[in-house]
């Protein structure tokens, strides 16, 4: 078979698997609305209305005179992104533990198409969820000052980070052998890393022990760039740092996932 035919088949197979994944998402749409949209929305309301007063006062210069909600929303978007890790890992694990992957492996299907479908589905779900969460944020008083170009950059960074996290989750889903394991192993991504970043408060307000880590980890680079772009403040080189993190995580996770897929 020529390289062109192989590439065509690879694209076709990945598209078929993506179609399958999207159909799955539609069948489970109620579950997804709760886990992917409702949870971040509740966090938004809790942090804004219940905790926001005190946190907002404490922010001082970091808020640049804007209400806490403007500082908070980029963080909630990150939380929405991170929340997709669990379902993505679980979906991959379910395929691995059921007979489906074995069936695919005995067919002349492009290796990797199945994972590409999972990753593509995860990115699309995340884009829908972040759009919905942004809509609710606007309703509760979020006032972004982003230009059209800024918005495009925001979408780009969200998609890139989602892509990186999806490959990471897929790899985790491949190596964990149960649904509980898949979910448990993504909990650090879903909660620990967002909290140990500038998601809710600036990294330099944290205790000395975690400050350096929080300031230099990928979640902070991503949330800081989103915040700068959405509030219309100078972003400096942070978006490039964020994109570099996304590329590095995606590459390492992709290689890890491919190696695990071949081994299992």
């Amino acid at each position: 078979m020529s390289t062109l035919t192989l590439l065509t088949f690879a694209a076709q197979d990945s598209a078929t698997m993506l179609g399958r994944e999207l159909k799955h998402s539609l069948r489970l749409v109620r579950l997804l609305i709760v886990s992917a949209i409702l949870v971040p929305v509740v966090m938004l309301l809790l942090f804004d209305y219940i905790l926001g007063g005190t946190i907002g006062h404490g922010l001082g210069d970091a808020a640049r005179g804007a209400p806490y909600v403007d500082f908070l929303v980029p963080g909630i978007l990150i939380l929405t992104l991170a929340g997709s890790c669990g379902p993505t890992a679980i979906n991959v694990t379910l395929d691995m533990t059921g007979g489906f992957v074995d069936r695919i492996r005995t067919m002349a299907v492009t290796r990797g198409a199945l994972l590409a479908g999972h990753v593509g589905g995860s990115v699309l779900r995340t884009l829908v969820a972040t759009t919905a969460v942004t809509g609710v944020a606007l309703l509760v008083g979020f006032r972004p000052k982003a230009s059209v170009a800024d918005w495009l950059a925001v979408v780009g960074i969200v998609a890139a980070f989602s892509f990186a996290l999806a490959w990471l989750s897929a790899a985790i889903g491949l190596v964990t052998k149960s649904v509980a394991g898949a979910n448990g192993s993504t909990l650090p991504l879903q909660f620990l890393l967002p909290f140990l970043s500038s998601t809710f408060v600036p990294a330099d307000s944290m205790p000395a022990g975690v400050r350096w880590f929080a300031a230099n980890q990928p979640f902070t680079a991503v949330v800081d760039s989103l915040r700068a772009l959405l509030t219309g403040t100078p972003a400096g080189n942070t978006p490039y740092v964020a994109l570099a993190w996304c590329a590095a995580i995606a590459l390492v996770a992709y290689l890890w996932a491919q190696a695990s897929f071949r081994r299992t």
């Binding site: 088949f9 076709q12 197979d13 078929t16 179609g19 399958r20 159909k23 799955h24 069948r27 489970l28 059921g98 007979g99 489906f100 074995d102 069936r103 695919i104 492996r105 005995t106 067919m107 002349a108 299907v109």
Partner: protein, 319 residues
């Protein structure tokens, strides 16, 4: 066509010296197999004998530790891609997508096989019709019975018209009627030109379906042949006659010296090598004046096969 190419085109699967171990545990200990094109070949054995491992190796899922194998003329090690193009596998555990409807499952397989759009639809509806799944086509397998799920699973395998079909315990856990349906489907597939390698724990299944049977035990093929050949080698078949009193038993034992007496239970066990013909013969030799109270025909089962070919203790002996 010379003899050599003739040989090659007539052999669907050829396996020599297949070995597989997981750590210390040897699963396959040098398996040789030859399956002809158009044959139904049954691998018969208990759980853990290595049946599924053979299927997983031949369907390219796992590599063997040693040995060579060709599948439809392709080398399993070097041409795994080509092998995948000609085989179809229905595993022991259902491999249907539970979130897709029956029809969507078939269409998914067709798309992955790169069937053209009109062919895709036509083939899917043809298989739904054939496997009696038309009414359930738009429902997800969650609502299916075990037999329906198994039929959908097999229909998915058939979307690509595979020339060699692996069926790993196709009827385990099915009710008798679904089992009959599955047997009928398997026979039809062979009539249409497919070759089938099926694994089973049931001697009667292998007996009903297979042209040839290989008995697998502890990773070795302990005996192989047509169902007839195997049954002739198994001494387990017998007729059990129970009598009302000792006098009748003595009389019967005199007429049937090949039988084994159990005086306590007033039972005589007579070997039954030829089924109904032996039975008629035994009754004729007893005549009218020996009162038989009870009669039981014991046909050889997997236990007998194992007792006969492996020397393992069978159920009958431990009772």
């Amino acid at each position: 066509m010379n003899a050599l190419t003739n040989q090659a085109t007539r052999t669907a699967v050829s396996v020599t010296g297949l070995r597989k171990a997981y750590g210390e545990k040897v699963v396959l200990d040098g398996v040789d197999l030859t399956i002809g094109v158009g044959e139904i070949f049954a691998l018969l054995g208990p759980n853990g004998a290595g049946k599924t491992t053979i299927v997983r190796i031949l369907s390219t899922l796992i590599p063997a530790d040693a040995g060579t194998a060709t599948v439809m003329g392709y080398d399993l090690g070097r041409e795994a891609g080509a092998v995948r193009g000609v085989i179809g596998v229905t595993g022991q555990f259902s491999a249907v997508d539970d979130l897709l409807t029956g029809e969507e499952n078939l269409l998914l397989m067709g798309r992955l096989l790169h069937l053209r759009a009109p062919v895709l639809r036509e083939r899917a509806s043809e298989l739904l019709e054939r496997f009696d799944l038309v009414d359930a086509a738009r429902q997800t397998p969650a609502t299916y019975s075990g037999g329906m799920k198994r039929r959908l699973d097999l229909a998915m395998t058939l979307m690509g018209r595979p020339r060699l079909i692996f069926l790993d315990e196709p009827t385990t856990g099915l009710d008798p009627r679904s089992r009959q349906t599955m047997w009928q489907i398997i026979r039809e597939l062979v009539r249409e030109g497919a070759t089938i390698l099926l694994t089973t724990q049931y001697l009667d299944e292998a007996d009903h379906l297979a042209d040839r049977i290989a008995v697998l035990d502890h990773g070795r093929i302990v005996t192989e042949g047509t169902p007839e050949e195997l049954k002739r080698r198994i001494p387990g078949a017998h007729i059990r006659l129970r009598f009302a009193d000792a006098a009748s038993l003595v009389k019967a034992a005199r007429e049937l010296p090949e039988g084994t007496r159990d005086d306590e239970q007033l039972v005589l066990r007579v070997p039954n090598e030829r089924g109904i013909r032996s039975l008629r013969d035994v009754l004729a030799r007893l005549g009218d004046d020996v009162a038989v109270e009870d009669l039981f025909i014991h046909t050889p089962d997997l236990d007998d096969v194992f007792f006969a070919v492996t020397g393992n203790v069978s159920k009958e002996e431990t009772r």
